[in-house]
């Protein structure tokens, strides 16, 4: 039973992990929590749906295009909500991302309407059995795409100049600028990358749920996952995503599925109480 629950959690955990990763890379580079991340995820799913179902592009083409559009969107958000306010107090930037999220959500609602649509199945949702466990091709595909994305992500981070610039900026903005890293360009790249991650998460999530302009709420889960992982650690974010999905499913099966999200929130408060630095994070220390 536990094995089955764990297996079921992998697909959901993948989506949480990707969203959480977006939160963490933006936080590390720009020192901001991007409240529009969930909306970027919704936008990714919406655009994917539009391209695949309505414009009849192939799934792969729709997938890639949607990710590219959301990466551009992420860079635009950085330009509008972050850059003009870079030297403003923290909470100003935070609120501006809240505003951007609201604008995206209501914009999508005005353009597409509050219609509830589902993503046409690309991968089969028929159960596959092995070793006494059951899963679906859809779930396996979600996990596979996530692993692929994470590999690409790690490669970009460790082997490319863009990745080095991101790491340098995250460590010390001024230091990075001194050695010739364009901090503003790096910020734009990080926000674009987070937009792309959100889009991937959104399209992968799309067949599992119904798509509405409000589905960005699930971004909140990425958030909680990021906190569980420590909010500063990239592997922590991924681990946090899977841990959160597993916890949720366990609660859903053994306690109450209606109050699952409420119990998760209470657990989050407890985690903050006992171990605010999360699973793998370091305590965020501010030096003068």
């Amino acid at each position: 039973m536990i094995g089955q629950i764990a297996l079921n959690s992998l697909a959901l955990g993948s989506i949480y992990a990707l969203t959480a990763l977006g939160f963490v890379i933006i936080f590390r580079a720009s020192d901001v929590v991007n409240f529009a991340q969930g909306e970027m995820m919704m936008l990714g799913a919406m655009i994917g749906l539009l391209l695949y179902r309505d414009l009849h592009l192939g799934y792969a083409v729709a997938f890639v295009l949607s990710v590219v559009i959301c990466m551009a969107g992420g860079a635009v958000v950085e330009r509008i909500a972050f850059r003009p306010l870079m030297n403003a107090p923290h909470f100003t930037i935070l609120l501006s991302t809240v505003a951007i999220g609201q604008i995206i959500r209501s914009g999508v609602r005005i353009v597409f309407g509050q219609e509830v649509s589902s993503f046409p199945g690309v991968w089969s949702a028929d159960p596959i059995s092995f070793l006494g466990l059951r899963t679906t091709a859809l779930n396996l595909a979600i996990v596979a795409v996530t692993i692929g994305t994470l590999l690409v992500f790690v490669m970009v981070f460790s082997w490319t100049r863009i990745g080095w610039a991101m790491k340098a900026t995250a460590q010390n903005r001024r230091g990075a600028a001194i050695v010739g890293v364009s901090v503003s360009r790096t910020n734009a790249q990080v926000w674009a990358m987070a937009g792309g991650l959100a889009a991937i998460a959104g399209i992968l999530l799309a067949p599992l749920i119904i798509i509405t302009p409000d589905m960005g709420v699930i971004g909140n889960k990425g958030f909680i996952a990021a906190i569980l992982g420590g909010f500063t650690s990239l592997p922590g974010a991924v681990l946090g995503g899977f841990a959160l999905a597993l916890t949720e499913n366990l609660i859903g099966v053994y306690i109450s599925s209606a109050f699952k999200d409420v119990i998760v929130f209470v657990l989050l408060i407890l985690v903050l109480l006992v171990r605010p630095s999360g699973l793998l994070g370091r305590q965020i220390v501010k030096r003068v």
């Binding site: 936080f27 929590v33 505003a99 005005i110 929130f265 989050l268 408060i269 501010k286």
Partner: protein
């Protein structure tokens, strides 16, 4: 930057006070029930926004889940009126107390961390509260909401006028609390924390305790606003306390003027009246509030009150120069 110490307050204090009391009482003269209801809504929003302003504008603690405190205040007040005692004041008091307690429970683990955590946790709190309201059907009536019995005052059923007077009293009370906070040691400690936690700590301010006080007052005011809403509207449902409401409250503070006594009130008045005037465009309401928030943050971060304040200050300087 001055916080709490409003420029308006430097004009004779009793004059400003009398003007505020008269202005808040004047809607009683309005013949139309609808206009009076809008006036009450402004008062309710002003109370809630004053609460948000206390934590965010004075102390730098962002709450993007304040609708959760309103929800707790509203549902608890509704429960008290329906099942315990019909007294409106008692019900609102119970709602405020419950909201304050929850605020403390959430604040305790969160406020000692990086200030970003309180934003994240209040966000989750807002969602969680809404989920409870939707799913705990036995108590909250679920998505369909809950009808609230007519509240009483001293055993007599409260008329609309009585409820309006209660709203005015609570509004003036919140304003007074915010004013006193801004003028006192407490307000100066909040401001110091907002400017730099490290500097505040090194001056001997117990940062965690003061943040907790700011957040508790703020959540109590949210509870008061919610309880009042339940009494006035006679009906509570989860849709009245969604995330957008939290964002709207923040927008009121930012548009009016963060950290100023008059800011949230100006913001509440404008952002309550505007959607009523623009009802045919209700579809665009949310978009509109997002654009206003972003626009003010980038173009006029000190809000509308800074215009008025700036004008008064300028005229005073001119007078002195003459």
């Amino acid at each position: 930057m001055k916080a709490g110490v409003d420029t308006v307050a430097s004009s004779p204090r009793w004059l400003a006070g009398a003007a505020i009391v008269l202005a808040t009482l004047s809607p009683l003269l309005l013949g139309s029930d609808y206009l009076r209801f809008v006036a009450v809504l402004i008062l309710i929003n002003a109370i809630a926004a004053t609460g948000v302003n206390l934590s965010m504008g004075y102390c730098g603690l962002v709450s993007v889940g304040h609708a959760g405190f309103l929800a707790i205040g509203a549902y608890v007040a509704a429960f008290v009126v329906n099942h315990v005692s019909g007294n409106a004041v008692l019900a609102i008091f119970a709602g405020a107390l419950a909201a304050g307690l929850v605020g403390v429970v959430i604040g305790l683990p969160t406020l000692r961390l990086n200030p970003l955590y309180i934003a994240m946790v209040t966000f989750g709190f807002g969602q969680a509260t809404n989920l409870v309201a939707v799913n705990w059907i036995d108590v909250t009536g679920g998505p369909n909401g809950l009808a609230v019995n007519a509240p009483t005052i001293l055993g007599v059923e409260a008329s609309n006028t009585t409820l309006y007077l209660i709203a005015v009293a609570l509004f003036l009370g919140s304003l007074w609390v915010a004013y006193c906070t801004g003028q006192s040691r407490l307000g100066r400690a909040f401001l110091a924390i907002k400017e730099s936690e490290i500097a505040a700590r090194s001056m001997g301010i117990t940062v965690e305790r003061y943040k907790m006080i700011a957040f508790a007052i703020s959540s109590i005011m949210g509870g008061v606003a919610g309880g009042l809403y339940a009494m006035v509207s006679g009906y509570v449902n989860p849709d009245a306390f969604v995330f957008q409401v939290s964002v709207l409250l923040v927008t009121m503070c930012v548009a009016g003027g963060l950290g100023r006594l008059s800011g949230p009130i100006i913001g509440a008045a404008i952002l309550t009246i505007l959607p009523e005037l623009l009802r045919p465009f209700a579809e665009y309401k949310e978009l509109f509030s997002g654009v206003i928030l972003l626009g003010f943050l980038i173009l006029m971060p000190r809000g509308l009150a800074s215009l008025v304040g700036g004008w008064i200050a300028a005229s005073q300087i001119k007078r002195r120069a003459v």
